[in-house]
């Protein structure tokens, strides 16, 4: 984040300088010009000096500021290419006239001059000067010479065009990258109020879709009008020279085009703006529904949501249709005006010609010149349309990123440790619906262990957030040793304060990634590889961060460890203490062991694998596990697993897709197994059709037991029916050998290849002892093992990879750790086999001391989007450990323990109370008094007030609390616990919480 802000500052640098020249103070800024109204509003935001955080109000100014060098360069090249382009237009005429028709040889010349180079200079400077008098050539040589020159020019023009297009494209892409990055950086600076009104999916749409056309336009922003404008102006000047009246006429029509068409298009732009907003809202709404899909289902609001979206789409359709109609209406008018001019030329020009005021030659020349006028004009008008369109889009985007929606940039400030007297001075927080805190004044000595007991209102939680700097007070201030906390650098505060709220925010990634998220703050040194240099230069050019990524950003020093291994140990220590160690261990058992990342564990797993087998044998349980043996069919494993003898790593070899894999099919056909599998598939399909018929679709039994899903039943019924029909027809036509071959040849085999594939897919999941359909015999097993070897060879030859094969001496990286340990399949048909084997395995892991390494693998467990693969309690633990691992000076907990469940929450609280209070402080919001006596300092929320700190010996009388306000002497909080402990026993308020608890239970 710091990188982002830094980059934004860099990009904002140029404009900040501009702003610096102008009066900085808001009021005079407003007087300078209307355009300056923005800096006035965001007076404290230097970056937003004259723009919203690096985004100018005008798109063209933005483009010019960031790409003027490129624009000028490209313009220069375009101009340089023009003479050659015109030369290539002129050459064909010369080839025809001079070489083919022989005009160059008219006066009986045998030869003509070729390649005469003349320097055209103004007459007053000596007129034309001959540089090279040319070669003498005959007709053929002239023809070939001119033709080769034409070819050369074509090549050169092509090269120019290529370069210009690439340069324009690159320019546009660079600007798009810059714009997207700037917008993203600005999102990071959204004020809490702006965030409350922002929908994630809408902002994502802005960055993804809405700025895309802007990027496409940027390459043409200056170049196209410059180029086409010159062209059009030349043509117009030519007409004017030929005849002033006709020229004025043409200019008049062009003027009308330029005045009327944009006017008509204004409505188009208004509609376009509406369309942009409507489709952005549609994206936002869809995002909302997807995020809240559980609520939609549980409330049965599907129909309502469908209707709502349908209504939106209807509105959008209406808008788009109106735009469409108007667009083509404008196009029609435009064409009409363009066609109108020749009519006027013929009519009026003809009139002049008849009157003798205009020569026929002039008229023809004017009409010819006019033919050159419309294409550039049309393109110019199109460009103008695009410009307006893009500008509207840009402004719409800008609306979301106005400076008043942004927080100021992080300025350097204090970085003192948060120890000393913390005081709230008249702190108030105003929410849209009214005050949440008003005029709260109190003081606390830090480090301390502080409880804020809630009265059920939002005050306690808000005050905790004020302390954690999650909420900035609307009035008053929070000071430490007399210094306003706002004087601290933002980065320093986020490092020194950790906050864990009631709904933890997790990102997709591993457990470890989420826990160390708060340590990702040390940008690694920029890479010095030459390969990176290009990327770096590009990042510089587009105002993007130059820090390497992906790289190790972890600040180990902040966690107080030396390296990744120690950090893992520290994380595991916390997780174990909090009581999630067992769960992470189980994640580890299901996790994958990458032999390169965990070489020690990989080696020990092989050792453990052998020990496991021996131990099972010693306990007389060898029959419970059927090990993977390259030379034997594993009866407890599926047909597919026996065939592959490994774990697929691509979807092309996973599940039913295996039946469609070309290499697999080749081997199956070669070994004749395909026919067996089709027969098996047939029997499975028939059995499933028989026994699952009549169950409603979506019934849980389908999912759990059937080889077919409910909606597949009719399909397979049809497949089987087709077979019966084919067989019947085969019967009718006689079953002779020749006939069978003929039928197979013309595709009338028992099954079409698609049907066969579908049938082969079914037995892939078949396990004889479990499904008991009696489909597999010893011969089949032997042939399958044979095919296994062939398949492996074939797959290796194909060189596609995709399978991590089982090898008794190697770890199978794609298989879960547990399977690697077991290296076989449990015999499910023995009662209690799983329990027995698990017990043996657990004992073995204990004995070999593998648990820590396995738990470490568990840190790689993926938490899923928003941590949905974890339970609420687990998410809360991850969020808490994320805060703890940073060793903050101040840890603020606002309901962070409540999702953990009562027992674990109590353990965790005990742990925290033990760890905090000496060097660092803990502030926790408590829902009631029940555990408040374990805290040194107790603050109480009442309405919009926070009372305290309690002198715990005395019962918390509201009046006393109010009076104590900020006048409690420093150190009172420290003295309080001792008093509380001694005073508790005979205090009447003491047993009250317990009594309440009893009441609740009763």
């Amino acid at each position: 984040m710091s990188g982002g802000a830094g980059a934004a500052e860099r990009t904002g640098g140029g404009m900040a300088r501009e702003a610096g020249d102008r009066p900085a103070d808001g009021r005079s800024g407003e007087q300078v010009a209307g355009r300056e109204a923005v800096p006035a509003r965001a007076g404290n935001d230097r970056e937003a000096g004259d723009a919203s955080g690096g985004l100018d109000r005008s798109l063209f100014r933005y483009i010019w500021r960031h790409s003027k060098r490129d624009q000028i360069l490209i313009c220069g090249v375009v101009l340089a290419s023009l003479p050659l382009y015109f030369a290539s237009l002129d050459l064909p005429r010369r080839i025809v006239n001079e070489a083919i028709q022989g005009h160059a040889f008219e006066k009986g010349n045998e030869t003509a001059k070729f390649l005469i180079l003349r320097l055209q200079v103004p007459d007053w400077f000596g007129g034309e000067r001959l540089l090279f008098s040319g070669f003498d050539v005959d007709r053929f040589e002239l023809l070939f010479g001119l033709s080769s020159m034409f070819l050369l020019l074509v090549l050169i023009n092509g090269a120019f065009k290529y370069w210009i297009n690439v340069a324009k494209g690159a320019l546009g892409e660079r600007m798009l990258r810059r714009l997207r990055f700037q917008l993203f950086s600005l999102i990071m600076r959204f004020s809490p109020d702006a965030l409350r009104h922002t929908k994630a999916s809408e902002v994502a749409t802005i960055i993804r879709d809405e700025v895309e056309p802007i990027g496409g336009f940027i390459g043409d922003a200056y170049i196209l009008p410059a180029f086409l404008g010159t062209q059009a102006a030349t043509a117009m000047a030519f007409i004017l020279i030929q005849n002033v009246w006709l020229g004025l006429l043409a200019a008049g029509v062009v003027g009308v085009q330029f005045v009327v068409i944009p006017r008509l298009r204004r409505e188009l732009l208004r509609l376009g703006r509406q369309r942009q907003l409507a489709s952005r809202r549609l994206a936002g709404r869809v995002g909302e529904v997807v995020d809240g899909i559980a609520a939609v289902h549980s409330n049965g609001a599907e129909a309502w949501e469908r209707a709502e979206i349908g209504h939106r789409l209807g509105g959008l359709f209406d808008l788009r249709l109106r735009i469409y109609r108007r667009k083509f209406m404008v196009k029609f008018l435009n064409n009409l005006l363009a066609q109108m001019t020749p009519f006027l030329f013929y009519c009026i020009g003809g009139y002049f010609a008849l009157k003798g005021q205009l020569s026929i030659g002039q008229l023809v020349a004017v009409i010819a010149a006019y033919r050159d006028l419309p294409p550039p004009l049309k393109e110019l008008i199109d460009w103008d349309q695009q410009r307006l369109d893009v500008q509207v889009k840009y402004e719409q985007v800008l609306q979301q990123f106005l400076p008043d929606r942004l927080l100021g940039l992080d300025a350097p400030g204090r970085d003192d440790s948060l120890c000393g007297r913390l005081a709230a001075e008249g702190v108030g927080v105003q929410e849209p619906h009214g005050p949440v805190l008003s005029n709260v004044s109190l003081s606390l000595p830090l480090p301390a262990i502080v409880a804020i007991v809630s009265d059920g209102g939002p005050a306690a939680s808000t005050f905790a957030r004020v302390l954690a700097r999650r909420v900035v007070p609307t009035s008053g201030r929070v000071t430490l040793e007399g210094h306003d906390l706002a004087d601290w650098a933002g980065a320093a505060l986020t490092r020194r304060i950790a906050f864990a709220g009631v709904d933890p925010i997790l990102f997709p990634g591993s457990l470890r990634d989420n826990i160390v998220y708060g340590l990702n703050r040390r940008p690694p040194a920029s890479g010095t590889h030459s390969a990176d240099a290009k990327l770096l230069a590009e990042a510089h050019r587009t105002g993007n961060p130059v820090e390497p990524f992906p790289a190790d950003w972890i600040d180990y020093a902040q966690a107080g460890v030396a390296d990744a291994r120690e950090l893992d140990a520290l994380i595991l220590d916390w997780l174990t203490r909090i009581g999630m160690g067992e769960e992470v261990y189980r994640f580890g058992l299901l996790g994958q062991v990458d032999p390169e990342r965990h070489p020690d564990l990989a080696a020990r797993l092989i050792e453990a694998r052998i020990a496991f087998r021996e131990r099972l044998a010693a306990e007389g349980h060898a029959h419970l596990v059927e090990p993977f043996d390259p030379a034997r069919y594993n009866r407890q494993a599926t047909v597919a697993e026996n065939l592959l003898f490994g774990v697929p790593t691509t979807t092309a070899l996973t599940g039913r897709a295996l039946a469609e894999h070309a290499v697999v099919r080749l081997v199956l056909d070669r070994t004749g197994l395909a026919d067996d599998l089709v027969t098996m598939g047939e029997r499975i399909a028939a059995t499933m059709l028989e026994i699952f018929r009549g169950l409603p679709s979506g019934h849980p039994l389908f999912e759990q037991f059937s080889f077919l899903s409910a909606d597949e039943l009719p399909e397979f019924e049809a497949i089987l029916a087709r077979r019966t029909a084919t067989e019947a027809s085969a019967e009718r036509h006689g079953g002779g050998m020749l006939n069978r071959i003929r039928r197979r040849w013309i595709g009338l085999g028992r099954y079409g290849s698609a049907d066969a594939t579908r049938l082969i897919a079914l037995p892939l999941a078949y396990i004889e002892p479990r499904h008991r359909l009696g489909l597999i015999d010893d011969a089949f097993r032997d042939r399958l093992v044979e095919a296994r070897g062939q398949l492996r060879t074939a797959l290796d030859e194909a060189g596609l990879g995709g399978v991590d094969f089982y090898d008794p001496d190697q770890v199978c990286a794609a298989a879960p750790l547990r399977d690697n340990l077991l290296f076989g399949r449990i015999n499910q048909s023995v009662a209690d086999a799983v329990e027995t084997v698990t017990a043996t395995g657990t004992a073995l892991v204990q004995e070999m001391r593998l648990a820590p390494a396995i738990t470490r693998v568990g840190l790689d467990h993926q938490v899923g989007p928003e941590g949905r693969f974890l339970s609420g309690g687990q998410r809360a633990v991850v969020s808490l450990v994320r805060a703890l691992i940073r060793r903050p000076d101040l840890l603020v907990l606002d309901g962070a323990l409540s999702p953990m469940g009562e027992n674990r929450a109590r353990t965790v609280l005990g742990l925290l109370l033990e760890r905090f209070g000496r060097e660092n402080s803990l502030v926790a919001v408590l829902p009631n008094d029940r555990v408040a006596d374990r805290f040194e300092v107790v603050l109480r929320a009442a309405g919009t007030q926070i009372h305290g700190p309690d002198a715990k010996a005395a019962p918390p009388a509201p009046a006393a609390g109010e009076a104590s306000g900020g006048e409690v002497p420093a150190g009172a909080g420290v003295a309080a616990p001792a008093a509380a402990v001694s005073g508790r026993a005979d205090n009447e308020t003491g047993p009250e919480p317990a009594r309440v608890e009893q009441d609740v239970r009763a």
């Binding site: 059995t687 028989e690 026994i691 699952f692 018929r693 009549g694 169950l695 409603p696 019934h699 849980p700 039994l701 759990q704 037991f705 002892p769 479990r770 499904h771 008991r772 359909l773 009696g774 499910q828 048909s829 023995v830 009662a831 209690d832």
Partner: protein, 148 residues
């Protein structure tokens, strides 16, 4: 031994005699076949009733722990259904069942069984008929005991 032989066994059970073979096949398919070693417990008295067992091969003893060690109440042979009352009444096991010799049984999961009952009235009626029949028998026995 395949699904077909299990279906044959299920048909021997009075409770399932009237049920459509396709449904019995579904019941067999959704159940697991498990082997118990000699002396291995099916379940203990007081355990949660999570499944019923149909003995396919072998014998199982139903016992209650008495002061002088286990008292054998019955010895069940092939085609006997055990534990079905527990899963219907959702009550803990009332007795302990142990394999007397190496035994193979079909484990009918409670959840799946109830699922089938609610889905196919034919099976539900067959079960009700059997239960009513048993109640009738018990009533008669009670009457006889009272009379004597």
């Amino acid at each position: 031994m395949t699904l077909e032989t299990e279906v044959q066994s299920l048909r021997q059970v009075p409770m399932f005699r009237e049920v459509d073979p396709a449904r019995l096949k579904l019941l067999a398919f959704t159940s697991e076949r498990v082997h118990f070693a000699d002396g291995q417990r099916f379940f203990d008295r007081g355990d949660a009733a999570d499944a019923a067992y149909l003995i396919l091969e072998g014998e199982a003893a139903v016992t209650l722990d008495g002061p002088q060690g286990p008292i054998r109440l019955a010895l069940l042979g092939a085609n006997a259904l055990v534990g079905e009352m527990g899963i219907l009444a959702d009550q803990p096991r009332s007795a302990t069942v142990t394999a007397a010799v190496p035994t193979t049984a079909l484990r009918i999961d409670r959840r799946v069984f109830l699922e089938l009952l609610s889905q196919f009235p034919q099976i539900a009626i067959a079960v009700m008929r059997e239960l009513a029949h048993r109640l009738e028998m018990t009533n008669q026995q009670l009457a006889q005991t009272r009379a004597s």
